[in-house]
């Protein structure tokens, strides 16, 4: 593809829209005995833009852009109006003299086509530059240049000119890194009362433009919209009109200063009188930013939002090895396992040890309390059933492989997966298996019971829905392992996979409703609050997804993997990260409320009981943190 690009009249780049049966000019052909067509720069709804060589300069190579308009209608009135518009653009350009406006050399009509011959701009549109990493100061600099050319247009004599079509695809950045405005064709006539009128909204236009009342303040709004798009990378054409306020700039791009955000918000005011009164005023606001920004660039954002009074250490309990698994609170006790092979029972208020029980392997499994028993498993292949008051064993149950899954209890049975590739259903009364289901690969996910189905995944990515008799109802195949557990809500089961997807399946049929790709694999178990689903990923983010369609609503970047699972408590999300911090975020916005550092990576899931958050860390400690409930 060529770097040279003058944009055609319409915004579309869909070749589909151009199938009029009116062919483009052939490369190598000459028009008006002067312009040798050398290439196509772009194709629009009304014709193409060509790169051509001006043959009136035979001794040198002089390139020009030739913009073509194909007139398709046979209605003479419409035909005349199209030609008049085209001439108007030509006349307009001929009267303008500004470094950011392309010069016009010629215009002419031939048969059903009209042509404008213009300065060829070497560069890319701002829309194309959206693919690049752009420095904010660079964006501000371009914005200043746009304000400058807008001010020139708005104060043009004898008549002010409204550009009316400010958007990233109409701004080019030339080879000298200077802004050029292209496409003065515009003034899309607005057809009024007629039933079923559609407007080709650009997403950048202000409300008054839909009423056909655009003044120079419409250009200010559209520039605000353009900057919003460039800074957030959220295409307004994919969003409802006038919804910029619903996509806060700093939310999508924390590197944007509050001052820059304020400038753009002002430009995007619904009522024209609330915006900057002129492009000049906006330009000076941006210039002030640039001046002050160079001084404050190094200040670390975000940290000011952490209020240490929101969280404090109540106690911590020391074990002899890493705590990687999840805990359970029952009555006055916290039950949790450690890599030191022990299951601990600790007073939840004081952190005093009540009892411990030693197995022959690491205990990662989350204990479950049923009928006076604490049930958990160990990497020594066994499921243990202890008396929860004194840690005395009632029985243990052998599988043929280490157990990383956690038990769940339903219908008189313990269900648990093992690295022996089976899901085991153990009768709690007899201690005997009622059945085993061969899942074909290790089962490390914790089974999830929803209505009368058991849902779990395997390390090869098979995901099963079985009934309480162990009969498979349906099976689904993820591309890689499913290590995290599932949650269900309204007939759907949700889980994450090592293939980096979060899946939503119809719980009854196993059909996929949606899937959403995260940056990397996940072994985190999602949690759900209303229409929000939260899940961590090894890409270091905690994600918030819309349960209805899987859209990512926000993501919060921790400093390392988020392998543990989030929990939601009073509209706040809590989770730990391998970066050693426990995080508390606003569940709606993902804004950080506080974070608390432990001495090692956190891979487990917090539990909140009363106003105390409990979580284990690989620094060999269980933490009890006093937290302040949300207002």
């Amino acid at each position: 593809m060529t770097d040279e690009w003058n944009k055609p009249d319409s915004t579309t780049k869909e070749p589909a829209a151009t199938n009029y049966g009116t062919a483009q000019l052939r490369i190598g052909s000459t028009i008006a005995n002067r312009y040798l067509i050398e290439g196509i720069l772009g194709i629009g709804g009304m014709g193409a833009v060509y790169r051509a060589r001006d043959l009136h300069f035979p001794n040198v190579v002089k390139h020009v852009a030739v913009k073509e308009m194909i007139i398709q209608t046979h209605d003479p009135a419409i035909r005349n109006s199209i030609i008049r518009n085209f001439e108007r653009e030509a006349d307009l350009l001929a009267t303008l003299d500004h470094p950011a406006i392309p010069r016009i050399f010629d215009y002419f009509s031939a048969q059903d086509r009209s042509y404008l011959v213009m300065e060829l701009i070497n560069g890319k549109t701002l829309e194309e530059r959206l693919k690049d990493d752009l420095e904010i100061s660079q964006i501000i600099q371009w914005a200043i240049e746009i304000c400058d050319v807008l001010q020139y247009l708005h104060t043009h004599q004898p008549e002010p000119i409204i550009f009316r079509d400010m958007k990233p695809s109409n701004v080019m950045i030339n080879q000298y890194n200077r802004v050029m405005l292209i496409d003065f064709g515009i003034a899309k006539p607005f057809r009024g009362e007629q039933k079923g009128t559609m407007i080709g909204t650009e997403g950048y236009s202000p409300p008054e433009q839909y009423r056909g009342e655009a003044t120079h303040l419409a250009d200010i709004y559209a520039l605000g919209a353009t900057l919003h798009h460039v800074l957030t990378r959220k295409d307004p054409r994919l969003e409802p009109p006038f919804s910029f306020g619903e996509r806060p700039i700093r939310y999508y791009n924390p590197n944007v200063s509050t001052e820059l955000e304020a400038v753009i918000i002002k430009a995007l005011q619904y009522n024209p009188e609330d915006r900057f009164t002129s492009a000049l005023e906006m330009k000076s606001a941006l210039e002030n930013l640039l001046a002050s920004q160079s001084q404050t660039q190094d200040i670390e954002p975000n940290l000011s939002t952490i209020f240490s009074t929101d969280v404090s250490l109540l106690w911590k309990f020391s074990t002899q090895d890493e705590i990687r698994g999840n805990l359970t609170i029952f009555e006055q006790s916290v039950f949790f396992g450690s890599y030191d092979h022990n299951l601990y029972c600790v007073d939840k208020n004081s952190g005093e040890l009540i009892w411990l029980y030693t197995t022959d392997g690491a205990v990662v499994s989350r204990p479950v309390i049923v009928e006076g028993n604490v049930i958990f498993a160990s990497a020594d292949n066994r499921v243990y059933v202890l008396n929860h008051r004194n840690g005395k064993i009632n029985f243990s149950y052998y599988t043929q492989g280490p157990i990383w899954s956690s038990p769940v209890y339903a219908a008189g049975h313990i269900f648990i997966g093992s690295d022996d590739c089976n899901l085991h259903a153990i009768n709690l009364v007899t201690g005997n298996p009622s059945w085993k289901l061969d899942a074909g690969s290790p089962v490390r996910s914790t089974p999830f019971i929803f209505e009368d189905g058991i849902y779990f995944g395997s390390e090869y990515g098979d995901y099963y829905c079985i009934d309480f008799r162990g009969t498979i109802r349906w099976r689904f195949k993820a591309k890689k392992g499913v290590t995290g557990s599932s949650v269900a809500e309204k007939n759907s089961v949700y889980f994450g996979s090592l293939d980096a997807n979060v899946y939503a399946l119809d719980a009854k049929t196993g059909w996929m409703l949606w899937r959403t790709r995260l940056g990397k694999a996940t072994i985190s178990t999602p949690c759900i609050d209303g229409d929000y689903l939260y899940i961590g990923s090894t890409d270091g983010n905690l994600y918030c997804l819309d349960t209805r369609n899987g859209k990512i609503l926000w993501q919060y970047e921790a400093m390392n993997q988020v392998t543990g699972s989030p929990i939601i408590h009073q509209n706040r999300v809590y989770f730990g990260s391998v970066d050693s911090y426990v995080y508390c975020l606003d569940g709606l916005t993902g804004n950080l409320i506080w974070k608390y550092q432990t001495g090692g990576a956190i891979t487990s899931t917090p539990v909140i009981n009363g106003n105390i958050l409990y979580i284990g860390s690989t620094d060999k400690h269980l933490y009890a943190l006093q937290i302040t409930p949300s207002g």
Partner: protein, 292 residues
């Protein structure tokens, strides 16, 4: 790691003080029916009182596949309301309905009824979205200058999945007549309502009330609203073009459903109500009744 307590390594007799309330025998009794929601449907259409041609198009496609374990219903219902002169509106809505239905049939219905086909490794929402975008391309290609709304509802498994662009609507109406909208109009006036600039009443007479900011066939990147909703145990799904909702208020719609015993007569009465209110536009109605 040294053990601090002497451990029992053999399986010992359970010493459970409180007996588990559920035993293995009632585990089997817990098996409930694995039934999927069933439904019935009807539809009706009218050109209205003020138009001479119909730019609406609709599809109602339903099947019931009975396998050993359950009856598995499938339903696909869609309405498209075309716009743009020179027959382009008619062509656009027809194309949109034809295109999306073909895609859904090929990518969902056929794999579903044919056990030799693997379950698609694509989500229902994604398939529906791609089907809608394909329809968009068809309209762009073959009805240039025209456009159409499209509200498509897929009943499959225990979910109702809706893809929507424009200002046709899908409603849920429960058996008590409470009415809830599944879709959000992509109209300028609806946007102004959402922003608090005008109210519902002003919207009905707003000069730009027919202006859509999203429709199939526009030269813009198209973003459809897609969502899945659990199929209700009872009540109705109503899909209609603005020829109905712009002139028949919600309570009247609910009243017509309540007072009719058959779905078809309810559809007919809805059309009649719109025509009695002036019938300014084409009217299309699809009514689906959920039977638990």
């Amino acid at each position: 790691m040294k053990s601090l307590f002497k451990r029992t390594t053999q399986k010992s007799k359970p010493d459970i003080n409180e007996q588990p309330s559920q035993t293995a025998s009632n585990l089997l009794a817990l098996q409930s029916k694995w039934n999927l929601p069933q439904f019935s449907y009807a539809f009706a259409q009218s050109v209205g009182m003020q138009r001479d041609h119909n730019e609406d198009a609709l599809i109602a496609l339903a099947s019931a596949l009975s396998l050993q374990d359950s009856v598995r219903p499938f339903g696909f219902f869609a309405i498209a309301d075309g716009m743009g002169g020179h027959l382009h509106g008619e062509i656009a809505s027809k194309l949109a309905i034809g295109s999306i239905t073909s895609t859904i049939t090929e990518r969902i219905l056929i794999p579903y009824i044919n056990p030799t086909r693997p379950t698609p490794q694509n989500s229902l929402q994604n398939i529906l979205n791609e089907a809608l975008l394909t329809a968009h391309q068809e309209v762009l290609r073959h009805a240039t200058g025209g456009g159409t709304t499209l509200t498509a509802c897929l009943i499959f498994g225990s979910y109702l999945t809706i893809a929507h662009v424009g200002d046709s609507r899908a409603y849920y109406i429960d058996i008590d007549g409470a009415i809830k909208r599944y879709t959000r109009d992509h109209s300028l006036v609806n946007r102004l309502i959402e922003l608090g600039q005008i109210n519902e009443k002003q919207a009905l007479n707003h000069p730009q009330r027919n202006v859509l900011y999203r429709a199939l066939g526009q030269n813009e990147p198209l973003e459809a609203d897609i969502g899945s909703f659990p199929i209700p145990e009872s009540g109705y799904l109503l899909i209609c073009s603005d020829g109905l909702w712009s002139v028949v208020p919600d309570p009247s719609i609910a009243e017509i459903l309540r007072s009719n015993t058959s779905l078809q007569s309810a559809c007919n009465d809805l059309i009649q109500a719109a025509n009695q209110a002036g019938g300014p536009d084409n009217i299309s109605v699809i009514l689906v009744k959920f039977n638990g």
